[in-house]
């Protein structure tokens, strides 16, 4: 059993007339499988990044490290995210649908990690 500590900070000096500056921290207990920080080359074809049959409840980190090409992240056949160049996502995943990735074009690289609760 291990402890994973994700922290999110959102800040802006000019989005509103008041400062935005907040952080949220969690302490997650990880008891299952872990894929440490990894990278995969995507393409315009669907790539099953994480198969639901292989995981139970997990936490997923994704980052598009390309500087010009976005990519879609689908859950099963449902389109959900479009991660643009340089963007990241962190979310709990219940592993009821595969996580499928497809690039808008070309072969951008996706960075990812998964931590099973």
């Amino acid at each position: 059993m291990a402890t994973l500590i994700p922290t999110l900070t959102l800040s802006s000096a000019d989005a509103t007339t008041d400062l935005i500056n907040f952080s949220v921290v969690d302490n997650l207990t990880i008891t299952g499988k872990v894929i440490g920080l990894s990278r995969v080359v995507t393409s315009t074809g669907d790539l099953t990044l994480l198969a639901s049959s292989s995981y139970s409840r997990s936490y997923v980190y994704l980052k598009n490290i390309d500087d010009s090409i976005a990519m879609d992240v689908d859950f099963g056949s449902t389109a959900s995210f479009n991660i643009r160049p340089g963007e990241f996502a962190f979310f709990p995943w219940h592993a009821s649908q595969n996580i499928v990735v497809a690039a808008d074009s070309g072969t951008p690289i996706l960075e990812y990690a998964i931590f099973e609760a």
Binding site: T7, L8, I20, S96
Partner: protein, 142 residues
């Protein structure tokens, strides 16, 4: 144009013995396209009764396939077995237990909000925010 920055760090000292984990990433929240910072947002907090399924961000993003960011945190503190189940586009993605949060880019794909949360095991308190490329307030009812 505003500059709003999201930074994440993910760390663990005991996940892999002898190899502490330290992931860090930062992103400026941009409107559709990647050159103009987001200026529109909606924030709030709510209590979700058990088995009640709620739609966040009433009437949804105004622009199909625009760029949005979603933040949801389960701020429940009195019972760590409670959780909310969240859906995007009618698909259950995951559960946010007490204290858990998520932050993801999101594209609407149609004009409905389709960001839904359901409370389970008891009432759950949440806070949430959506950063938006475009936003039109719901029309007044006649």
């Amino acid at each position: 144009m505003a500059t709003t920055t999201a930074t994440i760090s993910i760390s663990s000292s005991d996940l892999m013995p002898g190899s502490p984990l330290n992931i860090s990433a930062s992103s400026t929240l941009m409107k559709t396209g990647i050159t103009t910072g987001m200026e529109l947002m909606e924030m709030g907090n709510a209590e979700i009764a058990t088995d009640y399924e709620a739609q966040l961000f009433a009437d949804g993003p105004a622009t199909d396939n625009g760029a949005y960011w979603i933040y949801i945190c389960n701020t429940t503190t009195d019972d760590d077995t409670r959780y909310i189940e969240y859906k995007l586009h009618e698909t259950v993605i995951g559960r946010l237990y007490a204290g858990d949060w998520m932050f993801v880019p999101y594209n609407a794909s149609d004009g409905d909000a389709e960001v839904e949360v359901k409370g389970l095991i008891g009432a759950n308190k949440i806070e949430y925010a959506m950063f938006k490329t475009a936003w039109t307030l719901p029309a007044a009812e006649s």
